[in-house]
Amino acid sequence: MDYIGEHLLPGQIGHFFVVVSMVASLTAAFAYFKAVNAPLEDKKGWLKLGRLSFITEAASVLIIFAALFHILYHHLFEYRYAYQHTSLSLEFKYIMSAFWEGQEGSTLLWAFWQSVLGLIVMKREKQWEAPVMSVVSFAQFFLATMIAGIYIFDVKIGSNPFILLRDSGLLDEAPAMHLNFDLLQPIRPDYLTLVTDGNDLNPLLQNYWMVIHPPILFLGFASTLIPYAFAMAGIWTRDFKTWVPRAIPWTLFSIAFLGLGIMMGAKWAYESLNFGGYWAWDPVENASLVPWMIMVSGLHAMLIYKHTGYSLRSSFIFLALSFIFIVYSTFLTKSGVLGDSSVHAFADIGMNGQLFLFLIVFVWLAPFFAAKTDKQRWIIAGVTLLLSLGTYFLADKIPGFPLYVILGGVATYIVLLNKQVPAIQKEESVSSREFWMFVGSLVFFLAAMIIIFQTSLPVFNKLFDSNKAPGENDEFHYNKIQILIAFVIGLLTAVTQYLKYRTTSTRIFIKKILWPTIISAVIASLVLAFVKVNYMTHGLGFLINIWLALVATIYATIANASYIWLGMKGKLGNSGGSVAHFGFGLMLVGMILSSGKKEVLSWNTSGIAVNFGKESKEKTGENLTMVKGVPLQMNDYMVTYVGDSAHPKKQQTYFKIHFKSKKNNEEFTLLPNAFVNYKGNEGLMANPSSKHYLNHDIFTYVSSYYKPDGKEDTVSFKPNTVGVGDTIFYSKGYMLLEKLAAKDGLPTQEFDKSDTGYIASVKVQELNGSSYSSDMLLIKNKGKVLYRTQDTVMSQSLVLQLNDVHNNEAIIGVKESNDVLEYLTLKAYKFPYINLVWAGVVFLVIGSLIAMFNRVLKIEKKGIRVA
């Protein structure tokens, strides 16, 4: 059947290049693999094939990217992806967010960055090109299969972003889309005329951070592959040493961009989600934090190795695990296993098996390369194949089987590694830098393991068929451990730079670190004394831990800032590490202060809801109801809900909340917004709004909203006949008719000359309270009412109208109803020192990049000298 109005070409091009990309990346992986151990005369040919295939692969990814973008940009709703993720009203900048809202688009983004990084490796890493690119191409192949959307023996491989709406199954349950309105009949040829708009992007993702956070995060994801590939290359070619200096800049790059990507996500959460903060220990957040932490451990292990020859094995292990945990995090977020425990994981699209296979293969790839002989390699490859099949059939029969497969792979890797890679037998000195650096790396790594264990609870449930849910204070279980880690890491970060590699003389060490320590002690005491962290929700023990961690992280910040001058003589080029450590310390200080001193401003202690009615034991809550136009005291502010305005195109409402400080009369207006009854679904999706100060933020969002629609209003107007000067009583006070005027020959065009207009002016006086004035208009012609206005005195829940006028007496309709009130419920926090967190991130990233460039320059200089 021919369907009317479809544009099939972009999808056909896109899908064709998906297939090309699969073939090309597999060819590249194979060619590079052969190139590694090929004799010199064959090597060139294999390398050439590898390069050609990888360039083809990179070009294909680019074309797929462009094809999908074309589909989204032109709103070609015949494609499921465009229908599901965009709408005609979506602004241009959010087309990109829509692109990576879906699993397929985000995978594509990942593949895009991996191919870019691959091209850089190809260009820069001549010596390591073949083995590194073999691993990179192989990973690229796995990403390509995730968007393949092909069937092999009824097993679906990947999810095709170019699938048509009519093939996607979305229309199967829609009778209107079928011929004769019969679901058994095919889809009608003109179905596209009925699909006039798309499903739109999830409102929570319509935020500018969502335009830039995913590209940076996926650059970070992709970048973790390169250190992994270097480690694999090192053990594979048995050149255990020279890969380390080449891999260090890549590791720094990865730390900078994965870290930046994660924290941009935190910034997005802070600005557009309303769980009231930037971090919630959500599984999706943890899953990308953990590889970053392992990568940091890996970097420190490599630095130790480069300077002293220790911890080479640890470097191999950490770098391998970092990427393995990236794949695991992909499994967690994309398989749907987090369904009940995460707020923002992707939904299951039936790729669990494939994602798990990706994990198994990249876990077992490590022992595959670490094997000593080709025979061992083939055995390991066979075992991997068997275990993959075994997982498919045995996962339900043997509890925990997939876990054992993964742990088995890691254990085999470590065993083979220890056989191959030499280690220094002599012990490190306790006064050496490498000793404490390694302790720090180990602590950091174990902290990551604890986090991922806690995060994996839903996975354990699946594995062992158990029914464990997170405990009562889920976040606290993370915090109480990580606050101790922050203390230890803070101290080590402060002190270790002042130690020398191999051995440090106590006298020089003390001399150097004395002043930074004294300054830190003074500043920490001042902070404790004046900033006053007294977070008692979890008792004194936890509070003391917070204090300790705060002191340690302040120490880390000051000591590293000082080291730029004391240790590096102010040479910024060499101080990348210190700048990064300074930023890391600052970020931790900011996190501790902002969480420890977060205050709820909207405590419901005064105002409207004093009477809790039947729930009298009720404590005060964290939300405050504000009636439009009525100022309310909230902490140190008088706050007024002034009004609202709607987005011109979307069902998005901006609420104007006016703040006036009682301390210094400062005034400002915040505009939290919400999607109200989005797509006909009753309810709110709120976006917060913050007022930023240098040392704190005022953070608000609307937690409920009510606007009378008149439908449910059953209260009727009570007529009162009054003359000028007469009073009418209502429940909260009285009103006085001040003026009643009649006017003939209205100037307005719509009314005839014989029409008469009446205006009644009323003064409403609340008992012992404010007074308000109200004007009502009535237009009549020969006894017939043509036009009548209603006037609402919001704060008094009063609606007034002029029913009629007889003999200088007005009949005023009075209605008292809650339904006239427009009100919203507001939640407001004060986040102190949040800017320290963001500033810390900036320094961390800049420091890592300085260190990276510094190392790249040094390598290049050396290269020139050798040549």
Binding site: T196, A347, V439, K468, A609, N681, N818
Partner: protein
Amino acid sequence: MKKFHIILLVLTAAAIAVLVSFLQTTTTYDTVAIAKSKPGKYVHLMAKWDKSAPMEYDALKNPNYLAFTAIDSLGDKVEVVYHNPKPENFELSEKLVMKGKYEDGKFVCQSIQTKCPSKYKDQDPAKHPGNATPNKTSYYKEATLEN
């Protein structure tokens, strides 16, 4: 034994101790009947909002009081009290994960997580508010075309 081995051992032991203590704090996902059977104990109640029973939320009276009835997959019902405004996507949700305790005949939650229908099983495009609704004329046209 090297110093590192001692440190490694101590740290690993500490990590394991932490994880064991963590496992002991975990709770369970439960149905209404089971939640009722252990009053005062913190559980994750899996149920959905029973739309046939009245829901109480009046922000004017108390913005921090929501009461409704939850019904689980077995059909058991329980009255739920939540001292917060309605959670986001409450109306849209097809499942609620409610964390709290059953006390005095009511399930008092500390937090509610709403689970919405997956975006991959999306609504019928024809019922989409932005879309044109097919009318009878086009239907008859189709029918005649087919014949």
